[in-house]
């Protein structure tokens, strides 16, 4: 009978630390990798229910702004006044309001500045390094420039007045990047309060301080100052440019964490009316719909805009020639651009006389917003790269993201070129890639720059969905917007052109995941170590694995869309995401969230051994023969063989009379005693047992026991590729739940038909689980060449991204001109 018991080797590992003691036991070394997450997640309540949905009493505040701002180009300064209407939808009475004064981060006495360690890292911007044995302390020129800039310029908000509707000053206290406004009358639930703030600030030079906004100066532009010297031009990008209300939430109340620079923003939705006064020859791109085109655009421009709505290809509202003409001279006149935006959590804008402007209508249909104008604004430095790809990438992003979430709900989606590498706001994104000016006056770009532009536009426009609409708390959880968005930009990117190497491949994250210094994804943003792989790449790879390998596209896409739609215009927390994905897919994913989001384990599943078993028939006439054959199959004793070779004659052969019965009948000889025992065995079987037994004997299948060990700690499905002697290949998917009782090692029985002999097995043949060590994925073991060994075999011939636009101008040399000493 098939009764060889499987014993499970208990492998010893260094204890893997986990914050949750219930996962690790107080005695013994069992780890409950499948322990349900409920006790770790916040208790569901009327605001956020156990399904991960907004609860039946979900609320969020609303804040409406009317802002009038004037850009002083000469002084690079904003002077503004704003009226704020704060709607208290919470069940709480508020005695004060907290506002964000992000510009104060740039003050020399800000927490950000004071806690920037010398030689320290972790903050954004120019870096320094302390002295070490062989080199003196370093202060980069960038750090010096920042220092000089913040010394020479008065930075931070100048809050001139905070008044109620009667013109009475409201008591306000500035605390770093925050300001508390005390309300003379407590704000009861369901009530609103209106107040106004007058303020001003000097705009930072983005290149000097590495902010998310600022101005960029172009000294070589032809525009002259009154003294005849070159004055050049600027591009102004305005973001975090007005005092904004901090969010007041059901899970954290005021989210008034000091702005240090890394963790981004938590904001309230509201309606905005903007009046932006700028030099009359500037073109303005802003969050919102333009309300007064007749005042700021020429009739030609308005006609072109109309035409762009239904155009098949991009239409220029301001052409390159017009922009070049525009940037040559300035004006003293001013114009006021009026924008209105509904249900947005922020507004940003850009202004310059350098901008050309193109647009194409994205007819997405539906009832929410059938027409979205995709538009791009860029200087000549953006050139053909921008003309060709920016607006196109905006539209592609809208198509793909809407499929995964909801129709894009705003009238415009814009991409603006300026000094910021990439940053997102509702309806508007700032993107950095440029062309390169060649000596012959033309502009070219490398393929890498092209990929950068397409990638960054997709990523930043994608952020308009996450977190600008699905309003996750960026200051707490970077991964909720960056991880989700990096995952989706990978999906969109592959639909654009899969030959471009997009991120999110599981294999790209393995070296990070196996390294010993990291923190779980579930870590507050300002405390995350190695933010790139932690908050972007690892969660994106995890979601990709969830979609392609664990849930499958149908279940994943349904659940993900459900999450997006549930939290559209609302404020989800990580638990809402975890709960929705699980609840909508109908698949227990707590082990996945624990492993990928709450731990620093990695995936390394090893196939240690395969044993082949054969069912005993219990029939002595069969089994004894098999045993005899097994004995015969063993190699001959070396001593016997050598004796024979030496020609030794055996004693038993020399004297025939000393042989007896046992020389003719070996120990595998069957007698009726065994046959009777076999009959008795058959007779004792219950009818169903007899049927099962006889069938198994008849089929005589192959039984293989595969022994796996989990060396990385992270439990994952085991994906098997089985290769058989007849050359056929089969795939098997064993769900991760196989690890639930013995997370360190499991055995799996695989049964194949009689003639189907297993010759080799590979785990995860498509590299889809981020397994960090593929050398133990094969049985029999294969020698996996290291990267260097593989490299030595094939010298790479890849030519990924040459600047062929420039190279193509290379003149063909005559044979006699070729200098053989040239390097390449």
């Amino acid at each position: 009978m098939f009764n060889k018991l499987v014993t499970i080797a208990v492998l010893t590992f260094a204890a893997i630390g986990s914050a949750n003691a219930a996962v690790n036991q107080t005695k013994g070394d069992f780890e409950d990798k499948f322990r349900q997450l409920d006790e770790s997640l916040p208790t569901p309540n009327v605001y956020r229910n156990a399904a991960g949905e907004p609860g039946h009493e979900y609320w969020q505040q609303q804040v409406d702004y009317k802002i009038k701002a004037k850009l002083d180009e000469e002084k690079r300064r904003i002077d503004a006044s704003q009226i704020i209407t704060y709607h208290n939808n919470s069940p709480d009475t508020l005695k004060y309001l907290w506002m964000q004064l992000d510009q104060n981060k740039f003050r020399n006495d800000s927490m950000s500045a004071l806690t920037t360690t010398f030689g320290g890292i972790g903050s954004r911007g120019p870096a320094t390094s302390t002295a070490s044995d062989s080199k003196p302390a370093q202060l980069s020129l960038g750090a010096l420039r920042r220092q000089q800039f913040t010394n020479d310029n008065v930075l931070g908000y100048d809050i001139q007045s905070v008044k109620d509707t009667n013109g009475e000053t409201l008591r306000h206290t500035i605390v770093g990047t925050n300001m508390r406004i005390d309300l003379p009358v407590h704000l009861k639930p369901g009530k609103k309060v209106e107040f106004s703030i007058d303020y001003a600030f000097n705009i930072v030079e983005e290149d000097a301080v590495s902010a998310r906004s600022g101005y960029e100066h172009f000294p070589d532009d032809e525009r002259k100052a009154s003294d005849g010297n070159n004055q050049g031009n600027d591009i102004f990008l305005l973001a975090q440019w007005f005092p904004r209300l901090h969010a007041y939430t059901d899970y954290e109340a005021w989210t008034n964490k000091e702005f240090i620079g890394r963790g981004e923003f938590t904001l309230e939705f509201g309606n905005y009316e903007l009046e932006l006064t700028v030099p009359a020859d500037h073109i303005v791109s802003s969050t919102g719909a333009l309300q007064n085109p007749q005042d700021v655009l020429t009739s030609t421009q308005r006609k072109r805009l109309k035409e762009a709505e239904k155009a098949e290809r991009t239409v220029f509202i301001v052409t390159e020639e017009e922009a070049l003409e525009n940037e040559k001279e300035g004006t003293d006149k001013l114009k006021t651009w009026k924008f209105s935006a509904e249900n947005v959590r922020d507004v940003a804008w850009a202004s310059s006389r350098k901008f050309m402007w193109d647009a194409r209508g994205h007819q997405q249909g539906g009832s929410d917003q059938p027409l979205v104008m995709a538009m791009s604004f860029y200087p000549k430095e953006g050139g053909d790269l921008w003309k060709k790809y920016s607006t196109e990438a905006v539209i592609q992003t809208l198509e793909v993201y809407s499929r995964f979430s909801f129709d894009y709900p705003y009238p415009v989606a814009q991409s603006v070129n300026g000094p910021v590498g990439g940053m997102e706001y509702p309806m508007i994104t700032f993107n950095g890639p440029r062309t390169k000016l060649q000596d012959d006056g033309s502009r070219t770009y490398s393929q890498a720059e092209k990929r950068f532009l397409i990638g960054v536009v997709i990523h930043e426009v994608g952020h308009i969905y996450f977190p600008m609409i699905v309003n996750s708390d960026e200051r707490q959880w970077t991964w909720m917007d960056e991880g989700l968005n990096s995952f989706l930009d990978g999906v969109a990117g592959r639909e654009w052109d899969p030959t471009i190497p997009w991120g999110v491949e599981p294999r790209d994250i393995v070296s990070y995941m196996k390294s010993s210094n990291q923190v779980p994804i579930m870590t507050q943003s300002d405390s995350v170590l190695r933010l790139g792989p932690n908050a972007y790449t690892k969660p994106a790879a995890a979601l990709n694995i969830l979609r392609e390998t664990i849930l499958g596209r149908e279940l994943f896409d349904f659940a993900f869309k459900e999450y997006a739609q549930r939290w559209k215009y609302k404020r989800p927390t990580p638990s809402d995401f975890f709960r929705t994905m699980e609840e909508a897919s109908g698949v227990d994913l707590d082990w996945f969230w624990r492993g990928w989001f709450y731990s620093t384990d990695h995936v390394d599943i090893s196939l240690d051994k395969i044993s082949k078993l054969r069912l005993d028939t219990k029939d002595p006439d069969i089994d004894f023969n098999r045993l005899r054959q097994e004995e015969l199959d063993k190699p001959m004793s070396l001593t016997d063989e050598r004796n024979k070779a030496e020609g030794q004659e055996l004693w038993v052969e020399r004297f025939s009379d000393i042989t007896d019965f046992y020389d003719k009948n070996d120990r595998f000889t069957v007698t009726n005693k065994e046959r009777n025992k076999y009959k008795k065995f058959l007779k004792k079987l219950k009818p169903w047992e007899k049927i099962a037994f006889e069938r198994a004997v008849k089929e005589d299948q192959n039984y293989y026991v595969l022994e796996f060990s989990n060396k990385g700690g992270l439990v994952m499905p085991i994906i098997l590729e089985l290769t058989f002697a007849d050359g056929s290949v089969e795939n098997q998917y064993i769900p991760a739940e196989i690890w639930r009782r013995t997370p360190k090692a499991v055995n799996k029985l695989i049964i194949t038909d009689k003639g189907k002999e297993l010759v080799s097995v590979t785990i995860d043949p498509r590299w889809e689980t981020a397994d960090v060590d593929v050398s133990n994925n094969h049985y029999p073991r294969q020698i996996i060449p290291s990267r260097i060994e593989a490299y030595k075999k094939k010298k790479s011939k890849k030519k990924v991204s040459r600047d062929i636009m420039q190279d193509i101008k290379t003149e063909l040399k005559e044979y006699s001109e070729i200098n053989i000493k040239e390097d390449y």
């Binding site: 070490s132 980069s140 890498a448 990523h459 991204s801």
Partner: protein, 169 residues
């Protein structure tokens, strides 16, 4: 190398990170004791976006990590000069340049040395990894040491120049 900074495990430090995941200014390397080849193999993985900007700063404006074989090789030598392994006696191990490779979004630099060339038993090893850290103080280089005991990770950040690790016997 008279004063070595001893670190039990790598420090936990991180890089300034650009929002668009463009330049991350971080590299990850593997020092692999290869039992098949009996070599110590060193594989440095740089992001093309980082290397692309770096070569223009290190060499000249026209350097091109993607197009120019010459730049690629020069960058390989640049890394070669800034990466050293020292044995327990502080002796520098002779590292051979194996080659460079552009693969998708990554640029790889390969080095190796024969285990046989190391005279003393390797109880500990000291590593210097200055590549890109001489031009960008915020560059963070992470190294996984594999194939000799449990995997260990070292992180070069701030002004750290030398890191030592001990191999458990």
């Amino acid at each position: 190398m008279n004063r070595i900074i001893y670190w039990v495990t790598g420090t936990l430090l991180f890089a300034a990170f650009s929002l668009c995941a463009h330049q991350q200014k971080s590299a990850i390397s593997t020092v692999f004791f290869n039992p098949q080849t009996k070599n110590i193999e060193i594989m440095h993985r740089f992001r093309v976006h980082d290397a692309e900007h770096a070569v223009k700063q290190i060499f000249n404006k026209n350097a091109d990590i993607i197009d120019s074989k010459k730049t690629q090789e020069e960058f390989g030598h640049y890394v070669n000069q800034r990466f050293n392994l020292f044995d327990g006696n502080g002796q520098s191990m002779p590292l051979k340049m194996v080659g460079v490779e552009l693969d998708g979004q990554f640029f790889w630099v390969y080095q190796e040395t024969a285990l046989a060339s190391i005279s003393s038993p390797l109880e500990n090893m000291t590593i210097r990894h200055d590549a890109l850290r001489d031009i960008w103080p915020e560059q963070v280089n992470t190294i996984n040491i594999e194939g000799k005991g449990e995997l260990q990770t070292l992180t070069f950040a701030d002004s750290v120049e030398l890191l030592t690790l001990t191999f458990k016997q």
